[in-house]
Amino acid sequence: MTLKPRKDLLDIASLSDDEIKFVLGNAVQFKDLFKRSVKKVPPLRGQTVLTLFYEPSTRTRSSFEVAASRLSADVTHFDIESSSVVKGESVLDTVETLEAMRVDYIVVRHKQAGIPSLIAKNTRASVINAGDGWHAHPTQALLDAFTLQEIYKDLRGCRALIVGDIQHSRVARSTSLIFRRLGMQVAYLAPGSMMPREVPGEIPQFGNWRDALDWKPDVIYLLRVQSERLDEPFFPNAAEYHKHYGLTNERVEIIRERGLHVMHPGPVNRGVEITDAGMAYEKSLINTQVENGIAVRMSVLYWLRPGQV
């Protein structure tokens, strides 16, 4: 089977079922490479992958950098702090500079939704959205789906409970969407102030763990609590959040008894979303998600193709 390449990956919504299947299928082969002593293959030899992060992120950025290196691309980082962006250079001026450098792939993170799409329209390089505002984080969604497919093979009917600040989470948006696209059932558990105003009818909404666990989820997906939000009015403080919505030690025991899997996009706030016991829980998939992130990002880079000059 072959598939037409795309120039950019901006969100999950614009992907066809075949495209999702293709990326997840090839990721299996890329993950297989990690078992070899030589983990590197040459399909992106001579190509340049640039990471352009307007928001700090160590994990996602290094995951993309490792993925690109294992495909033999040259990898470079555009350092925002020290660049002229702080002097007021606009995003499009920066893109023009990158265009002149003839980079082939640009991995973008920006606090404002829509910036990756704007960049994609103004460059021949392939653009990968690594998170834009509350909008989308498609490679996170793909790696989450890949991680569950490794366990369940067929995701149809599998139930995921997403817990936390759903309203302000691009992860929740993209991951919830891909889970449902693959036939899973998704429910939300969040305090009222963190629940989106508009939730698709097929998604049950819960305000407490007891009701949410009665829904019989297979997977608990914890979202990261943005620490800056905890100081805002109408939001619970860290201790309150932990007590009512976190994976406390008591809840870890309930989850262990029921054999549920736990996921988190990282980095975790220990003592807020999850406890040390939760991190050590044997059915936690958090480290697997990190490993799979590299395979899935390799698969995305392998599939995308920069436009013509």
Binding site: L3, K4, P43
Partner: protein
Amino acid sequence: MPEASRTLLTKAQMAESIAALAKSIQEAHVGAKEIALVGIFTRGVPLAKRLAAALVQSGVKVHFGTIDITHYRDDLSTFQMVPKLEGSEIDFDLNGMDVILCDEVIYTGRSVRAALDELYNFGRPKRVQLAVLIDRCGRELPVQPDFSALKVTLQPGERVAVRFEEVDPTGDSCTIETQPTSR
């Protein structure tokens, strides 16, 4: 305009050719304790499987593996479509092994060059030989098969199409197809 096609080997002749290929490999490896057959995706794999099945009869221990050359193709960036990856699988120790790479057709030699690059990611074999069903003249690299059942010279625009029932719904066949000239 559909492709014109004429038979190169009948189904029975194809089976005979594979049997003859297995026999010549066996004769060249008399006294060998073990041997590895490695098929190049897609249709080198069923060929390698059939050769392996024949060689097992002779009592030699046969290891089986597959090689996906996609990452090592020298023309990958020119493809209109992105190939789905099959993944190479060599789950035996390649070091010091006598390996026979298998492909259904050799033409330019570029696939074999790519296969050698991928193979060496798994270890350092003692020797690598090449077995093909059809040797089509027109090499662009200094690569020659050690074992081949049939040698043909074709016109540009023609191609050998070997199909195996393991991967092709149409079943076993070996034909020469003429592609319509594009202008």
